[in-house]
């Protein structure tokens, strides 16, 4: 079964699909307009040297998010794609 975690808890190299957002709705529109929608595939690339922000890849481009922002994004991990 797919495992549901916060985007902020992902590890470099893991991939998953956006499950949904929590928190205030108005804060998610910018992300959605940039293409981070429920159902979008996300690959966790890295954390910044100081532990945050995070770098993810969606739709073929790279995006940086702060930890607090990433905590509000639920991710369904692809178990089978991990090696």
């Amino acid at each position: 079964m797919d495992q549901l975690i916060q985007l902020s808890a992902m590890a470099p190299g893991q991939t998953g699909v956006v499950d949904g957002f929590s928190g205030r709705e108005s804060e998610q529109y910018r992300l959605m307009e940039m293409g981070l929608l429920p159902g979008t595939e996300v690959r966790f690339v890295r954390r910044a040297p100081l532990g945050g922000p995070l770098e993810v890849e969606i739709r073929g481009f790279h995006l940086s998010l702060r930890l607090q922002e990433a905590e509000r994004i639920g991710i369904k991990l692809f178990q089978d794609l991990e090696h």
Partner: protein, 700 residues
């Protein structure tokens, strides 16, 4: 057929190569200006159609969406809708999109097409898309979008001719793309149409698009009461009848784009690790990231403070030569003094910073165009967020090391108004290039010359840069806790792929900045130099005992001062002396400080005039400082006085240009006045602590 002159709006995502495309289309036929009322810089250019007719084209700020969320984006939307005074309604739109990042770029493209203006898509960066294994069916894309799609590589000049041809059609066809929308939205649009502000053109095609954009706005874009109330009533009804409609609109647009993508794009080896990611594995490495960033900043400062020096010497020499020429050619008298001391001295003292400005902007625009600037913000965001700032505040603050004016203007890229305001409020604490001459002269006066003191001097200079930066960050933190409290900002930022810098764009940016700086020096500083000269020389006191030419270095202590003392500036210095006496300044330094309200660097030229040093060579000014005496005969420029001056200049907002630009950026006098007062108070207090505290523990 309409007879109106064509006016093209150029829009697109950030990092889509929009500016490169603009440069390729217009060449050198462009100018930088300001939007009336606001101060976003815009670039307007002219290109020639196939038939040789000139076409005006406006380069608008980059954005991911037409739903504006920052001042920059609001400007974009207003210009696109023809809502900016003095700018005509666009007759066509060019949407520059990054082919290698097609899906996200199509979001704003489809929004723009739906506005209904004739639109041409410039499918830029085709070479990058090919390298990334994307094969794009341009014809199919054209069919689905219903507008011409021109593949191009702006950085290589490919496709520009075709784009020009596509824009030469007359009349340009109107697009027909319509995404399905609930009937309720059409009702809302129909209802809003009559209440929208009137337009010059009676049947503007844009009205429906404007109404639709309004319906999804989060805040009033400046329409005022009745219209906005109507919009909000509709939004409430949407909330009731179509819960989650905002998300739904975004999702359905991406669903449509997803379909088009599937039909028109084929990908080969999609999982290949890109070059950018491999480079980032190194540059953003947990251990290597910071040292590399430090190295980059080190090179930047090294170039500003060492490589620029020979060029500065050349300018200095050139101005000195001009002064000599003027002295030789012109007859003795007040006019000659005005030209040589007033104008050449004043303007020359500012123009000398040109090489540093050029080097700084060369680096900043190179870091931007390669993509490293976003990485710097990524690495530093954690630090910046500690003091409540955004990683993006890094860029305005960094620019403020050269000059707070472009730095404050760069703060426009920050979305959240509070973040932006905090950044603007603290930016002038960063040590700008204009403080440098004051620092250099005062440090030279403070520490004896000689090889042994070179290290001490560098360390003191470094310390001044350091306290400026620290105070800027601490003040930002303080403001975020008190005056401008608010939720911490978002850091949703694209990390664009690394690219080779586009030299044309880098040089262009560099020259634009240099030109703006020179224009400032040529106008404001020119006028102020003349004004200051008059203030210091009138009412005219006869001082034939001391012809200006002979004054030179071997000046006597009391006599030259007495000439200035009777002047307007001298009177002002005398009047305000009590304010500055507690921090160790006599009326002459007070006068220098007052004159430096115009611009900090003026302090040096004022002191040069006060002490009648002919040339602005720092050596002679320094010598004059060393010889200067208080009225009781004790040395005026004691180490403590020098330190007090250094500290005062480190913190005070001694710059009319900054005050003016803050006024324009915040649209109110409240913030610049507040900023001026708090920075002055802080500077005075710090200088007071240093001067009085120093005396208490026995220094002089």
């Amino acid at each position: 057929m309409s007879t109106e002159s064509p006016f093209v709006a150029l829009i697109g995502n950030p990092n889509s190569g929009k500016t490169t495309l603009f440069n390729a289309l217009t060449g050198l036929r462009q100018k930088v200006g300001n939007y009336p009322g606001v101060t976003v810089e815009w670039k307007e250019g002219i290109f020639y159609s196939q038939h040789g007719h000139p076409v005006r084209i406006l380069d608008l700020p980059g954005s991911y969406s037409l739903n504006a969320r920052s001042p920059d984006e609001r400007i974009l939307v207003e210009a696109l809708l023809g809502r900016i005074a003095d700018l005509p309604e666009p007759t066509a739109v060019v949407c520059c999109i990054d082919a290698s990042n097609l899906e996200r770029n199509l979001y704003i493209a489809t929004q723009a097409i739906e506005l209904g203006l004739p639109t041409v898509i410039a499918l830029n960066m085709m070479d990058v898309a090919r390298r990334r294994g994307m094969k794009i069916d341009v014809e199919h894309l054209e069919k689905r979008l219903g507008v011409p799609v021109i593949p191009c590589e702006a950085s290589n000049g490919i496709g520009i001719m075709e784009l020009r041809l596509a824009l030469s059609q007359h009349p340009l066809p109107h697009p027909t793309l319509k995404m399905e929308k609930p009937a309720l939205i059409h009702d809302a649009v129909d209802d809003l149409l009559p209440v929208l502000p009137p337009r010059e053109k009676r049947e503007s095609i844009l009205a429906r698009g404007e109404a639709r954009l309004l319906l999804s706005s989060d805040e009033d874009p400046g329409l005022g009461g009745p219209v906005w109330t109507r919009v909000m009533l509709w939004q409430l009804r949407f909330d009731r009848e179509m819960p989650g409609w905002r998300s739904e609109w975004i999702t359905s647009r991406y669903a449509w784009i997803g379909e088009v993508m599937k039909e028109s794009v084929k990908r080969f080896n999609p999982n290949k690790m890109t070059m950018t990611e491999r480079v980032d594995n190194f540059l953003l490495h947990p251990w290597i990231g910071f040292p590399v960033l430090g190295l980059v900043m080190g090179i930047l400062f090294y170039s500003i403070f060492t490589l620029a020096v020979p060029f500065m010497d050349m300018i200095d020499g050139g101005i000195g030569w001009l002064g000599e020429m003027a002295s030789a050619v012109m007859p003795d008298g007040q006019v000659k003094n005005l030209v040589v001391d007033g104008i050449l001295g004043g303007v020359g003292g500012v123009v000398i910073f040109l090489p540093q400005i050029i080097f700084l902007f060369f680096f900043i625009s190179m870091l931007e165009s390669t993509g490293y600037m976003a990485r710097a913000a990524f690495i530093l965001d954690r630090v910046m967020s500690r003091v409540g700032l955004h990683g993006r505040s890094f860029i305005p603050l960094l620019s403020s090391y050269a000059c707070a004016v472009p730095g404050i203007m760069a703060a426009r890229t920050i979305e959240s108004p509070k973040d932006r305001l905090v950044t603007i409020m603290v930016a002038p604490f960063m040590t700008c290039a204009a403080r440098l001459p004051v620092y250099l002269v005062m440090i030279a006066a403070l520490l004896p010359s000689g090889p042994g003191h070179a290290t001490q001097k560098s360390l003191l200079l470094l310390f001044l840069y350091f306290i400026g930066t620290i105070v800027a960050l601490l003040t930002a933190w303080f403001f975020r806790k008190t005056l401008l409290r608010g939720p911490s900002p978002t850091m949703v930022m694209e990390l664009p792929p690394y690219r080779l810098p586009n030299w044309h764009s880098v040089l262009r940016e560099m020259f634009d900045r240099a030109w703006m700086f020179l224009k400032r020096a040529g106008t404001i500083i020119f006028a102020l130099s003349i004004l200051l000269w008059f203030l210091m020389n009138y009412p005219h006191m006869e001082d034939e005992t001391l012809p200006a030419d002979a004054a030179g270095v071997e000046l006597v202590d009391t006599e030259p001062a007495s000439a200035v003392e009777g002047s307007f500036a001298g009177m002002l210095g005398r009047t305000l002396e009590p304010v500055f006496a507690p921090i160790g300044y006599d009326w002459k330094i007070t006068m220098g400080v007052l004159s430096s309200f115009a611009a900090r660097e003026v302090f040096v030229s004022t002191m040069a005039i006060v002490y009648r040093v002919d040339e602005e060579e720092s050596d002679s000014v320094v010598q004059a400082f060393r010889d200067a005496r208080r009225e009781d005969g004790s040395a005026l420029f004691t180490p403590l006085t020098c330190l007090s001056i250094l500290i005062f200049f480190a913190f005070a907002l001694q710059c009319i240009s900054t005050v003016a630009v803050v006024r324009r950026e915040t649209m109110t006098w409240r913030w610049p006045v507040f900023q001026f007062v708090y920075m002055f108070a802080f500077a005075w207090l710090m200088a007071f602590i240093v001067y009085q505290g120093g005396q208490l523990i026995g220094f002089s």
